[in-house]
């Protein structure tokens, strides 16, 4: 561990230096502005930088390891690439750059990560088929060239892969921090979370976003990318990412009859045979086009810009949400379209009776994902009861996502089935792990217990994380008497060992409001930690949260754990402090461990993009600077007669 940290910090320092020198270089260069860095990204840049350190610390060891590996690979790859690149460029490439290569790499890294060669080569293999026209040979060739160039440029673009470090809150009040790159789908992220939390992997687990301003919540669909929506959040957002079970998510596939035959008495549908359910799904989801449930009925619509809610007769169609104007029939031609689904998502809302004087609390809204505050462009709808809200929201999701939703479900089922066996095994190991192993229900208990804790502590900083409720649903050990005390986490044996030993070292954070530390134990971790295997689990033992929740004073004295807020790990702190928030490129000072804790919301908009695991090479390491290089080359060329 120490070694790694040391190495890492060294590396970072070096990068830092190099970057600075490179910056100097660029400044002197007469380039107007490298086109490669579009403005919006710059913004991300700086956002990222403010808490890059912090987020790095939040990462788990194994992630750090991976990062390290990436860095190393990256650098060597860059060098290699440079060698090759020179050849390719037939000398037109700016030679001067060579030494500075690696740093520029880092410069870039901030918001975008370089892609791995793999991707780029793939893309070559399957280039978008060039337009099919049949011009003359020359034209063709020209076209070809143009296409090729476009292709190359696209590759360059691909080379920049954005990454975010995201803090995900879990139902039991704990949280996990992980790095998400922009190509990862929510499914990938969940698989990752399953691994980290050892929950039971059932299909209901969802990654959700909440927006306290709008009081909304939405579960991301499994096929969505996580980075994109998160990067449109405002800087000061209080939005959170939650990992929790949502029964509604796939209910339509478990009981399609309740949605597709909603007009019928629910009781009569209760014992529908599985075969019939399957057939319903087949009919509605496997045809040439997905059939949307034929929902219709009265909903309340909040009138534009007014406080009043107006009843309207709504109908759901695949093409959008319609209502029938007063005095007209329900015939298709008379319907008025309220909204089509291409550009909006559907969100569940909380407590709109108070917030907007809605007739009931069962509201949902439709809005563009980027809208984060109250706006006239949001459509507010209110249903009579929970069930009808579920119906409408699910119906809208079906209309919007179509078959994709069913595919997601099937993938989730496969995942759940695959992990079931595994889970069983863990249960065994974990059950003997120790004392009050969290019971199945303990999960719930935990959740309850820790929620208050969260509140007291302030948003998003539940600290360390009791290793996730183990999947041990089946075992019903006696509940721990004190709900506040989340039982020690039975984790896979290897890790458990370690974890259990150092229980006492309570990190101060629990008492401190802001610091959202997580698993990464501050630098001076108990010795045991040092030997920890890289895949060290979310460490801390037991009771952290509980303490926090209980508002107990931070327990045992830990050397660093000075009571007051500021982050532990003084040594690094200094250095960390040096390179704080603002401007973009400053490479994160090497902060091996804890360092700057930033009171952030659960999501870090960090664009720390330490290079990818796979070794990048060509375009990769230098996505951006390849561009700038090209620019220089170009300039040279231009200046020639």
């Amino acid at each position: 561990m120490d070694d790694i940290d040391a190495m890492f910090s060294d590396m970072m320092q070096e990068m830092d230096l190099l970057t600075q020198s490179f910056e100097a270089e660029t400044e002197s260069a007469p380039l107007p502005k490298p086109p490669s860095i579009p403005a919006p990204q710059e913004m991300n840049f700086s956002i990222g930088f403010t808490d890059l350190n912090a987020s790095l610390h939040d990462l788990e060891d194994n992630d750090l390891d991976a990062l390290m590996a990436d860095l190393v690979a990256d650098i060597s790859a860059t060098e290699e690439k440079f060698a090759t690149e020179r050849d390719t460029f037939k000398g037109s490439a700016p030679v001067a750059q060579i030494p500075s290569q690696p740093q520029s790499n880092f410069n870039l890294i901030a918001s975008t990560d370089t892609s791995r060669p793999a991707t780029s080569s793939n893309s070559i293999a399957a280039p978008p088929p060039p337009p099919t026209s049949k011009p003359s040979k020359e034209e063709l060739e020209e076209q070809m060239k143009a296409d090729k160039i476009k292709l190359a440029l696209e590759k360059l673009k691909e080379a920049k892969v954005k990454k975010l470090v995201v803090k995900v809150e879990i139902t039991d009040g704990s949280s996990k921090t992980l790095m998400v790159d922009e190509r990862q789908t929510v499914r990938d992220v969940m698989d990752n979370l399953f691994e980290k939390t050892h929950c039971d992997c059932n299909v209901d687990w969802s990654v959700c976003e909440t927006n306290p301003d709008l009081q909304t919540e939405r579960a991301f669909e499994d096929h969505e990318n996580l980075v994109e929506p998160l990067s449109t959040w405002t800087r000061d957002t209080e939005n959170k990412v939650l990992f929790q079970e949502k029964k509604d998510k796939y209910e339509v596939f478990r009981n399609p009859q309740n949605f597709y035959m909603w007009k019928k008495d629910k009781k009569s549908l209760k014992d529908m045979k599985d075969k019939d359910k399957e057939q319903l799904l087949e009919e509605n989801f496997c045809g040439a086009s997905v059939i949307v449930p034929d929902l219709e009925g009265i909903l309340y619509l909040k009138e534009d810009g007014k406080k009043s809610w107006r009843q309207r007769y709504f109908l759901l169609r695949a093409s959008g949400l319609y209502y029938s104007p007063k005095g007209k029939t329900k015939a298709s031609r008379d319907l008025v379209c309220l909204v089509q689904f291409d550009n909006v998502n559907v969100y569940y809302c909380k407590e709109y009776r108070i917030k907007y004087k809605a007739p009931t609390d069962h509201c949902f809204i439709l809005k563009h994902p980027q809208i984060q505050k109250e706006s006239q462009y949001i459509k507010y709808l209110c249903c009579d009861d929970v069930w009808s809200m579920t119906l409408w929201v699910t119906g809208i999701r079906i209309a919007k996502y179509g078959k994709q939703l069913y595919d997601n479900y099937k993938a989730a089922v496969r995942k759940a089935a695959g992990s079931a066996t595994w889970a069983n095994r863990t249960i065994q190991t974990s059950s003997n792990a120790s004392t009050p192993s969290p019971t199945p229900k303990a999960k719930a208990a935990n959740g309850h217990a820790s929620h208050p804790a969260v509140e007291t502590k302030g948003p998003g900083n539940q600290t360390s994380f009791p290793p996730p409720p183990p999947p041990s649903m089946e075992i019903l050990p006696p509940q721990p008497p004190d709900p506040m005390l989340p039982p020690p986490l039975p984790a896979p044996s290897s890790t458990t060992k370690v974890n259990k030993f150092p229980p006492p070292p309570q990190f101060p954070q629990s008492s401190i409001p802001p610091p959202p530390t997580d698993d990464l134990p501050p630098p001076p971790p108990p010795p045991e930690d040092a030997e920890q295997p890289p895949d060290f689990l979310p460490p801390p033992p037991t009771s952290m949260t509980s303490y926090g929740g209980a508002a107990l004073p931070p327990p045992p004295p830990e050397p660093l754990a000075s009571l007051p807020p500021p982050p532990p790990a003084p040594q690094n702190f200094a250095s960390a402090g040096g390179a704080p928030p603002p401007p973009p490129p400053p490479p994160p000072p090497p902060a091996p461990a804890p360092a700057a804790y930033q009171p952030t919301n659960s999501v870090r908009k960090v664009a720390p993009s330490p290079p990818q695991r796979t070794t990048p090479q060509l375009a990769a390491p230098s996505g951006g600077d390849f561009m700038s290089e090209l620019m220089t080359a170009m300039q040279k060329k231009r200046s020639q007669p």
């Binding site: 037109s92 293999a125 160039i149 292709l151 190359a152 440029l153 959008g320 319609y322 080359a633």
Partner: protein
């Protein structure tokens, strides 16, 4: 055994020739009769297609091994010796009329199979023949003006030959004439004139829709038996709305004809849709029409397409690595710079458009006070990624505005860009559209997008100038929508709306546009329901029964509301009492219904239900051969073969 004279008319001797008398005994088999007959005619020709038709009994004597006695033929019988295959005028789903030979002696089901084999239509079981709408005021001159495609010379091949020659089945490649027929079959026809649509019969109510289904022929009896004569006109239509195994690779004709049927169903208001849906259908029709025009016969063959694109991409790869200099040249291109007028509507503002210097780069527009300021900080930079782009154009009024709705956390920013002329508009508009999808000017679709916009504008120009004129380049938008919308909107109001819908689909290839059209059609709530006027047992009023591929729907005639739905999956059995022509169906849970048909033969209803059940069995059977026997078993009734 006593010999007696049998009277047989031989059609080939001419209409005025007297019937032949041949001397036969009752134990002579049919084959023997034919032999004697042929000998007596003294004509040397191929008689293999000929058979005996017994006019009084309206039946064919096809079993050559049966004796006259067994067939029940006595001296009073008047037989006709006639070919089994006769020419038929076939009204295709696309509105064209095709003359071709069809079998008049086998059950219609098999006749349709034969027709489809010639036309290269897979899954003939989904189609059937119906009598044309009786034209009340039949003008003779109109009949002659009708363009007729002739395929009567094409020999009927036995097996399902899929041999391709020149991208079409071999039997079409014989002559330019047959090639033209294939083109008509496999490429969608240009949009009809709006007046032509308005003139055609449109069902005005659900009652009218029930009339269509009175016209289906009985699948288990032959054409002759149903009174169809040589050269009569019949319609060929998709009858069962469940399209099995649609594969663009093999189904060029099927897909095109299905699209045509769907298009006419929309244009003639056979199926209701909302305004939004109509605009999308209109845009798709426009796009499909344009693509079909530009498409070459050869390239319509999918295989060639694949090969071509594969070759092209190969070339790209080969040339790809060499010349980076070209790349540099091209990389500097991706910008648009121009003077544009910008307007941001705000409450309580009277400010109008103001001119700025605008720069389009990557996915953003930056604007500056003047051209001279362009190196400084822009007044504002708008990132268009994820925004909504809508045209606000009036060619006649020389108004070329782009309306942008740019999402922001606070809502949507509404911004108008006003361009000077068409050229400027199409460039900026195309750029905005691409940017909204996250693509830059470098994207290969940019040029085609610019062109698309220009053609569409020219369409508006011509439609506002002379509403009825129609050329290849420009079509009247009125011909893309049903008469209801023709009345509701003038072409110049319609064009922008279709244009708006068009921008979302302009990128689709011909095949995907057709598939998209079909998909939206199939997602309409009323899709695939065939209506019959029935009277339920115990009820005193007429009601409508809708038959769909998975359910029966009882519909109130007055209001049009669905009263009850029964699904086939719950069906225990159904049968027909042919004496009182009543259909009785039993569902699970002891639900029994019975009804008689008011305007259609109950055989048609029976066949529909049985047909759908037959269609649903196809999924399980992997084999390509059609289970004809099962079809007749399910649909034949008591007269089943």
């Amino acid at each position: 055994m006593a010999a007696w004279d049998l009277t047989v008319t031989v059609e080939d001797l001419g209409p005025d020739a007297p019937p032949l008398q041949i001397s036969v005994t009752s134990d002579l088999h049919i084959g023997g009769v034919i032999l004697k007959l042929v000998e007596q005619t003294n004509l040397k020709r191929d008689w293999s297609d000929h058979a005996l038709w017994w006019e009084q009994k309206q039946q064919w004597l096809l079993r050559t091994g049966w004796t006259l006695d067994k067939c029940g033929v006595h001296a009073d019988a008047r037989l006709i010796f006639t070919p089994q295959h006769k020419p038929l005028r076939l009204g295709l789903p696309n509105g064209a009329t095709l003359k071709m030979r069809a079998c008049f002696s086998s059950p219609v089901f098999r006749t349709v199979m034969g027709i489809c084999r010639v036309l290269n239509l897979r899954h003939p079981e989904e189609l059937s023949l119906l009598r044309p709408v009786e034209e009340k005021k039949k003008k003779k001159d109109k009949d002659s003006s009708e363009e007729l495609y002739d395929l009567t010379d094409v020999p009927l091949t036995a097996g399902s030959v899929q041999a391709l020659y020149n991208g079409m089945p071999a039997h079409f490649a014989d002559s330019p004439k047959t090639e033209a027929v294939y083109k008509m079959l496999s490429v969608s026809l240009p949009s009809p004139a709006p007046e032509a649509i308005a003139k055609l019969y449109r069902p005005a109510s659900i009652v009218d829709k029930t009339h269509i289904h009175t016209r289906w022929l009985d699948s288990s009896r032959s054409l002759m038996q149903q009174g169809i004569q040589e050269n009569d006109k019949l319609g060929l239509r998709f009858k069962y709305y469940t399209f099995h195994d649609m594969d663009p690779k093999y189904d060029a004709v099927r897909l095109t004809q299905l699209y045509e049927q769907a298009r006419w169903a929309i244009l003639l208001e056979d199926i209701d849709c909302t305004e939004e849906e109509m605009m999308l259908f209109g845009a798709l029709q426009y796009h499909i029409g344009k693509q079909s025009l530009s498409q070459d016969m050869v390239s319509s063959c999918q295989g060639m397409d694949d090969l071509e694109s594969a070759l092209k991409s190969l070339e790209v790869k080969m040339v790809g690595d060499g010349n980076s200099t070209d790349m540099l040249d091209n990389m500097t291109a991706p910008e648009l710079n121009d003077h544009l007028k910008i307007f941001r509507p705000k409450r309580l503002t009277l400010k109008g458009y103001k001119q700025y210097w605008c720069k389009f780069q990557e996915t953003s527009i930056s604007y500056y006070k003047s051209k001279e300021d362009r190196y400084g900080e822009p007044i504002q930079q708008l990132n268009l990624k994820g925004c909504e782009v809508a045209p606000d154009v009036n060619v006649a009024g020389q108004k070329f505005c782009i309306k942008l709705l740019i999402p922001a956390p606070e809502g949507m920013n509404e911004i108008y860009l006003r361009c000077e002329n068409e050229k400027q508009y199409s460039q900026w508009m195309a750029a905005c559209k691409l940017a909204s999808k996250g693509l830059t000017l470098l994207d290969s679709s940019y040029q085609s997008e610019v062109q698309n916009i220009q053609t569409f504008l020219s369409m508006q120009r011509s439609s506002s100038a002379a509403p009825t004129s129609q050329t290849d380049e420009s079509i009247n938008t009125h011909s893309l929508v049903s008469p209801r919308y023709q009345k509701k909107y003038k072409p110049k109001q319609l064009t922008p709306r279709i244009l708006e819908a068009y921008q979302n689909i302009a990128q689709l290839s011909l095949t995907s546009a057709i598939l998209k059209f079909l998909q939206i059609w199939q997602a309409l709530p009323d899709f695939g329901i065939s209506y019959f006027m029935v009277r339920f047992k115990g009820s005193r009023k007429d009601e409508v029964l809708g038959i769909a591929n998975n359910r029966l729907i009882r519909i109130d005639l007055g209001v049009g509301d669905v009263v009850k739905t029964w699904r086939y999956s719950n069906m225990r059995q159904w049968n027909v009492n042919w004496d009182i022509r009543q259909v009785a169906i039993e569902f699970d849970g002891n639900i029994n219904i019975a009804f008689g048909c008011v305007n259609a033969d109950c055989k048609v209803v029976h066949e529909y239900i049985g047909g759908y059940i037959f269609m649903s069995t196809r999924a399980q059977q992997q084999s390509d051969t059609l289970n004809e026997e099962l079809f007749h078993k399910l649909t034949g009734g008591h007269e089943a073969l």
